[in-house]
Amino acid sequence: MKPAPFRLETPRSLGECVEFLTEHGDEAKILAGGQSLVPLMNLRLAQPSVLLDIGGLEALDFVEKNEQSFRIGAVTRLRDLERDANVAESQPLLAEALPYIGHIQIRNRTTVGGSIAHADPAAELPAVLLACGGTIKSVGPNGEREIPANNFFESYFSTNLEEDEVIAEIELPRWKPACGWSIQEVSRRHGDFSLIGIACRVSCDEEGVVTEAAAAFFGVGATPSLAESASSLVGTKADDEALRQVAEATTAELDPPTDIHVSADYRKQVGGALARRSLSIAYQRATRSIT
């Protein structure tokens, strides 16, 4: 199928983009990498009358690391992140997640901001952002706004962004020492959206006792969501019994949907197993860095 008619605008800055958004309201859509929007347009499920192509805004294409934080510009392409030594070194969870996202041709176009703004609940990046405690920086008519990831995702494909706001960058906290990570997902084929997945981060002290555990599920409901159950690992050494309890609590906690691929039951059971598996790997990685 072919897309319905629209007019393409190419804002020269984020400010200009916001002006267009203010002018056109919900008639306008931001086009970044286009890897989610254009399939919907080709199927005529999305028919914006104005497209604002910000993919070429060089000011939003950057990776910047400093003492406190790690910032990524909104139109930075995922393939560029994959190749970026800073990402591999400083953001291992993000680095591990990238190859799961689509395929080469997709990652060559997909932007970080686009993936976050699209807010597909089965997508990896929103969950990584959540597990890392990241922040979304947006720009709107009233200036800049910082939104913590756990307040950002509101429902299926819907976020805290106003109609006239656009993502400028995301910020991830610097990775602490003695911190491990893992991303685990079940998808029907390589590169597909996950049936269910989990991105997690575990920190421990010098004795190997867990001091912090965060796990974000994706593919389990309307938004990526932090698993309450993971926090029960704190104070343990993530032994088999502790992990078994987390798995059980996770299965009880999840309230996922059924779709044409798998049932809610499947997601609950497998969610528990993935929690156990991923937290165990993350813990081992955390302890490896203290010895």
């Binding site: 008619p5 007019r7 393409l8 399939p39 080709n42 993919g55 190859p99 080469i104 041709q105 060559n108």
Partner: protein
């Protein structure tokens, strides 16, 4: 409301200036405006990889990009791979390794493979399998395609 845009674009080393409807996909631009019909459309949903071309050196799905976005861009299609009479090493390896039957998916695989070879020095079988997993072939079962790319990667003859 439909818009149009004037673009200047370089395709297979040749410069083109065209006035295009904003909604015209790159794939349709190549096929209908430039009559480069080697870029095939298998789904227009961004799933099958048949329409893969190189955009500024990167393999992308040309059904998910609009020609109107591409002023100043450089595109390589399957028609730009061979050097006149001589086939690109990947093209020869595809023939030799039975990497095609109906041939419809072949251009997309070739262009994806070009990026893999440009990117990696030691592409092994599992790397290649993962790298081409965004392209669908219904005929071959992929083995011949993987073998062909491995062969060229080993020989390093693309450089």
């Amino acid at each position: 409301m439909t818009g149009t845009t004037s673009i200047g674009i370089r395709v297979n080393g040749e410069d083109f200036e065209r006035e295009v409807e904003d909604r015209l996909t790159l794939a349709d631009f190549l096929r209908s405006e430039l009559r480069l019909t080697g870029t095939h459309l298998g789904c227009e949903q961004g799933s099958c990889g048949a329409c893969t071309v190189l955009l500024d050196g990167s393999a992308i799905r040309s059904c998910l990009v609009f020609a109107s976005q591409l002023t100043g861009a450089e595109v390589t299609t399957v028609e730009g791979l061979a050097n006149q009479a001589d086939l690109h090493p990947l093209q020869s390896a595809f023939i030799k390794n039975d990497a095609l039957q109906c041939g419809f998916c072949t251009p997309g695989f070739l262009l994806t493979a070009v990026e893999i070879l440009n990117e990696t020095d030691h592409a092994d079988e599992s790397t290649i399998r993962e790298a081409i997993s965004g392209n669908i072939c219904r005929c071959t079962g992929y083995q011949g395609i993987v073998d062909a790319i491995v062969e060229v990667a080993r020989s390093g003859s693309e450089r």
